[in-house]
């Protein structure tokens, strides 16, 4: 499936990890990901729990926002850092709370190498969905139904944080929504910029930690509002 033979496997891939107060898990998540992806940039989004120190001990690159800006801003910062690195061809956004699987990311990068797509978006709605908490499932599927763009592009999981994309997307990406509403903005950019998009079934590991840290459903209200007033260009 992948070019496993050569030692510098995935050396043209950059993992972008927005981090905000993930102290309890971030070092383990980064270490596990480093085994497959040698290039990781963690964007510490003004954490107050020493996440930055823990990241610094792992060998991942670290960029620190002086103040907390939000996950969308952190992803944009990470992409701008990564796309300036020599040899960077592929980029993956990966959550720092341990809910994403390295194997899923590897599969998505492999598709970028083989297929004619610019961006591969993870979806948790292929196959068995019974592990997703019921209320969360309803909210996420409602979000898909409410997104005409997402439907048109054939996306089933608009708010999935695991994405892999190529250099073209990385250079055109310009997230202006700082908070969680950036997912909708990325879908809008896929549409506007004409990026060729594909979906890859992925697993989300809903641990107690990630559920506690994850977006509350009430935050969906904020996301909807952010999308409504997003700067339209």
């Amino acid at each position: 499936m992948r070019a496993d033979s050569g030692l510098p496997a995935e050396s043209d891939v950059w993992l972008i990890m927005p981090v905000h107060n993930e102290g309890p898990v971030v070092a383990d998540v980064v270490t596990a990901a480093l085994a497959a992806f040698p290039n990781i940039v963690c964007v510490d989004d003004g954490s107050s729990d020493g996440s930055a120190k823990l990241i610094a001990g792992t060998g991942a690159h670290l960029v620190r926002h002086p103040v907390n800006l939000g996950q969308g801003a952190a992803i944009q910062t990470g992409v701008e850092y990564a796309r300036a690195q020599a040899g960077a061809q592929f980029f993956v956004t990966f959550d720092a709370d341990g809910q994403h699987q390295v194997a899923d990311a590897q599969r998505m990068v492999a598709r970028l190498r083989l297929e004619e797509v610019d961006i591969v978006v993870g979806s948790r709605f292929h196959g068995d969905v019974s592990h997703i908490p019921w209320l969360k499932r309803q909210a996420l599927q409602a979000a898909v139904k409410l997104s005409p763009r997402g439907r048109r592009l054939g996306l089933t999981d608009v708010h999935n944080g695991l994405r892999a994309f190529n250099a073209r997307v990385a250079h055109e990406l310009d997230i202006t929504v700082n908070g969680m509403g950036h997912a909708g903005e990325i879908v809008a950019m896929i549409d506007r910029c004409g990026w060729r998009v594909a979906e890859e079934p992925i697993d989300i590991r809903y641990t107690e930690y990630s559920l506690g840290k994850g977006q509350s459903l009430l935050n969906g209200v904020n996301i909807a509002f952010d999308s409504a007033v997003r700067r339209h260009r």
Partner: protein
């Protein structure tokens, strides 16, 4: 003239002076100043001759002058809320650009200093 009238007129005049002194000199600022001047004239007039406001209200199909003032207040407040919101958004956008530039510059600096990603200060 009742005390409340003096208090209201004084408040309006002080507010106007405050806004006119503080605002910038660009085009938008000029419109704000014109609007503010109009507001001051109308406010003082309304305080002195409340019956005239009631007359205008009746012409517009609104019952009392106070109701007219209330409606204008609601519209004015909505306008204020939206413009403030947009302003904050714009500010937030600039802040992110600034913070991002700072973060990237700091990271580049740190990596130039020591290639092995040393522990950040703090």
């Amino acid at each position: 003239m009742t005390v409340i009238k003096i208090v209201l007129i004084l408040a309006v005049v002080l507010l106007a002076l405050f806004v006119l002194r503080r605002h910038g000199t660009n085009r938008g600022g000029a419109y704000v100043k014109i609007g503010m001047a109009g507001f001051v004239v109308f406010a003082i007039y309304a305080v002195l001759r409340p019956d005239d406001v009631t007359w205008i209200a009746a012409r517009l199909g609104v019952g009392r002058g106070t109701d007219l003032i209330l409606y204008l207040l609601v519209v004015g407040f909505a306008f204020f809320a939206i413009s403030t919101y947009l302003r904050f958004k714009e500010l937030e956008f600039r802040l992110s650009k600034l913070a991002r530039a700072l973060a990237l510059a700091e990271a580049a600096e740190r990596e130039r200093g020591e290639p092995d990603h040393p522990a950040p200060p703090g």
